[in-house]
């Protein structure tokens, strides 16, 4: 019968100790006399604008004069989170570094604390690095006192996620604007956009065959675009010459023949620079359509020469001066 009684007694004592130990921990200890301690704080430089995930670093330099000494075990531990009325504060101790210097009459403890914010909200809210309570022991006595390190107040800001915030509902003068300075980026963007626009316009101007830009969509521009789509055979060459004939006729307003090229360039001086090429074109046309024995030396395949010629005529059409010299050099190659 003695053994069951003993077991019951042990279980009862264990249960009582489990309930009474926390109560013992919450026991309010007397504050240490301020003449024995001095506290120096090095707090974060700003006290607002912290969002979830940010870290705040704080250094406490605690000087404890003898006969008191700091109970190291009373220092907060990593992961510790204050609670208020059972609710976590959302500020968690992420790291703690302690350095101690002992002197004959005092000891200096440099406590480096790193807190991390784990709270967020839709508005800016006040938060606090609560003053940590550390315990001091009187040497030679059983007396234990406590010291409350001053707290640090700051404010957390909301971290808005796209789609989760309705500005109409959330707009409040109390919410500070959270903007980055994007002037440099905007300027770069504008320059890049302008450059891109000009490049696209230039590209359209060169390759385009529409009429919505000045001097675009001319007869030779259209012919030039169509030339590239024609097959590379005899029928394609004939069609290509047809296209260029039509373009010349369209520009002149009437049919142009080999013996009226001079009249054509007189009527359309923009094409004066290309007169030798126009005359060669008519020779090519004569060779292909009327008289195969017409002497002609183009220096390159007829279709290729025709495209070059049509591009030069398109340049003339746009008021540009065709690079005939370069074309003739490339033709020789």
């Amino acid at each position: 019968m003695k053994a069951p009684k003993l077991l019951f007694t042990c279980l009862l004592m264990a249960a009582l100790s489990a309930t009474t130990l926390p109560a013992m921990a919450d026991v309010t200890l007397p504050s240490v006399d301020s003449k024995y301690v001095s506290v120096q704080e090095i707090n974060p430089t700003r006290d607002a604008g912290y969002v979830v995930g940010d870290k705040l670093e704080r250094t406490i330099i605690l000087t404890v004069k003898k006969p008191y000494e700091l109970i190291q075990e009373s220092l907060p531990i990593v992961g510790y989170e204050h609670r208020y009325r059972g609710q976590v504060s959302g500020i968690e101790l992420a790291d703690i570094q302690v350095a101690e210097e002992s002197f004959s009459d005092r000891s200096v403890h440099t406590i480096h604390l790193v807190y991390q914010v784990f709270k967020s909200g839709r508005v800016a809210k006040p938060a606090i690095l609560r003053g940590e309570v550390v315990k001091l022991r009187h040497l030679g006595k059983t007396e234990v006192c406590e010291l409350r390190i001053p707290s640090f107040n700051f404010r957390t800001s909301p971290l808005s996620v796209y789609g989760e915030v309705n500005l109409k509902n959330e707009m409040s003068p109390l919410i500070p604007p959270f903007k980055l300075d994007t002037r440099n980026e905007q300027q770069v963007f504008k320059v890049a956009a302008g450059f891109l626009s000009l490049s696209l316009l230039g590209l359209l101007y060169i390759l385009g065959a529409r009429t919505w830009l000045p001097r675009m969509g001319g007869a030779f521009a259209k012919a030039y675009r169509k030339l590239g789509k024609l097959p590379d055979n005899e029928a394609g060459l004939q069609q290509a010459i047809h296209l260029v004939h039509n373009a010349i006729q369209q520009v002149a307003g009437h049919s142009v023949f080999a013996n009226s090229v001079a009249q054509f360039v007189q009527e359309k001086p923009a094409y004066l620079a290309a007169q030798p090429e126009i005359e060669r074109f008519f020779q090519l046309s004569r060779q292909v359509f009327f008289d195969a024995k017409t002497p002609l030396a183009l220096g390159m395949p007829a279709k290729q020469w025709l495209r070059t010629f049509c591009r030069h005529m398109r340049d003339c059409e746009r008021g540009l001066t065709p690079d005939l010299e370069r074309a003739s050099k490339s033709g020789v190659k």
Binding site: Q249, S285, R286, D291, A292, K293
Partner: protein
């Protein structure tokens, strides 16, 4: 073989032109057109004022070509038999018959010049048209042949009194109507007045080298030209379009100032006219040392071979020359080749 023949004859043709141009100054284009007509074997209607050198031009050509040259003046009382024979009383008091201008040179007749043809009666026209078409004539119970004959006729367009307009069917027999005008260059005009060598036509004509060509070989050589100068499919299509445009110019957007185009053309070019156009174009290509006809060859002879064949509404006949020229220029501008 033909290449050499073509080249040799070309050299002779150009020499003939050169010889004629020595005595008839400022008429290079008419000379070229007559050369073309000679080698295309086509009759020519000359249009021009009096005294501009038509007779001199034809005599110069006749001397260069060789063969006989005959001329007759068109008058209102001219009868068809006046072209064939003359009747007169001889010194013996008996009536005599001698050959008229058509028969006088026999088969060697090379150029027959009918001056002011529109003053002759339609009966005379009728005879001439038959001779032009068939180059034969029945007279004195005998068939007379003129295989080498080309007819050059002149019509006076200034005076309309006592004239008989040549009907369109008659005009169509002529390959070309060539305008002969006074050269506009002042130095040439001055030369024509003051250079005494132009005053004696007989003497002037002797400056042309005689018999540059062989008139009796022209027919056969003309055939060689027509057979050896080709026309590509594109050229054929172009000629066809030109023909269609003469029939319906409005379909090709051709306009003539102050003319209702819908009422203008009663009849376009005839098939014979288009055939003559291509014959002349081939000769032009040959003269330019080409083996094939190009559109420019057609242009070179288009006005002269087609204008006189067009039949206009009577209301526009008074302006025929001007309208025909403007309409054909419009057709050349409107029809593209290829």
């Amino acid at each position: 073989m033909h290449d050499h023949q073509l080249a040799d004859w070309r050299a002779q043709a150009l020499k003939l032109e050169s010889e004629v141009n020595k005595v008839v100054v400022g008429q290079e284009n008419p000379v070229r057109l007559i050369t073309i007509a000679v080698f295309a074997r086509g009759h020519v209607l000359l249009e021009g004022d009096v005294g501009v050198g038509k007779t001199t031009l034809l005599r110069a050509f006749t001397r260069g070509i060789g063969g006989g040259y005959q001329r007759i003046e068109g008058t209102i009382d001219l009868m068809p038999n006046d072209l064939v024979y003359h009747t007169y009383l001889g010194e013996d008091g008996k009536p005599h018959v001698s050959p008229g201008p058509l028969l006088m040179s026999g088969q060697d007749l090379s150029i027959f010049f009918f001056n002011e043809i529109n003053r002759a009666r339609p009966q005379v026209h009728s005879l001439m048209l038959r001779v032009m078409a068939e180059r034969t004539l029945t007279a004195f119970n005998k068939e007379h042949y003129f295989p080498h004959m080309l007819v050059f006729a002149d019509r006076n367009q200034v005076e309309k009194e006592e004239t008989f307009d040549i009907p369109s069917a008659a005009r169509d027999r002529f390959m070309m109507e060539i305008p002969i005008v006074v050269p506009p260059a002042h130095d040439i005009m001055e030369s024509l007045i003051f250079d005494t060598r132009f005053h004696d036509v007989d003497q002037l004509i002797t400056n042309v080298e005689a018999d540059v060509l062989k008139f009796d070989q022209l027919n056969s050589f003309a055939k060689v030209i027509q057979e050896n100068i080709s026309a590509s499919p594109a050229l054929r299509q172009y000629a066809l379009n030109l023909w269609l445009a003469t029939k319906d110019p409005t379909a090709y957007g051709v306009k003539v100032s102050n003319v209702d185009m819908k009422r203008l053309v009663l009849s376009g070019a005839s098939p014979r006219g288009m055939g003559m156009l291509l014959r002349a174009a081939r000769v032009n290509a040959w003269l330019h040392e080409r083996d094939a006809v190009v559109p420019e060859d057609i242009h070179a002879v288009l006005h002269e071979t087609i204008a006189h064949r067009l039949v206009f509404s009577p209301v526009y006949e008074m302006r025929r020359t001007e309208i025909a020229r403007e309409m054909l220029s419009g057709i050349v501008n409107a029809v593209a080749a290829p």
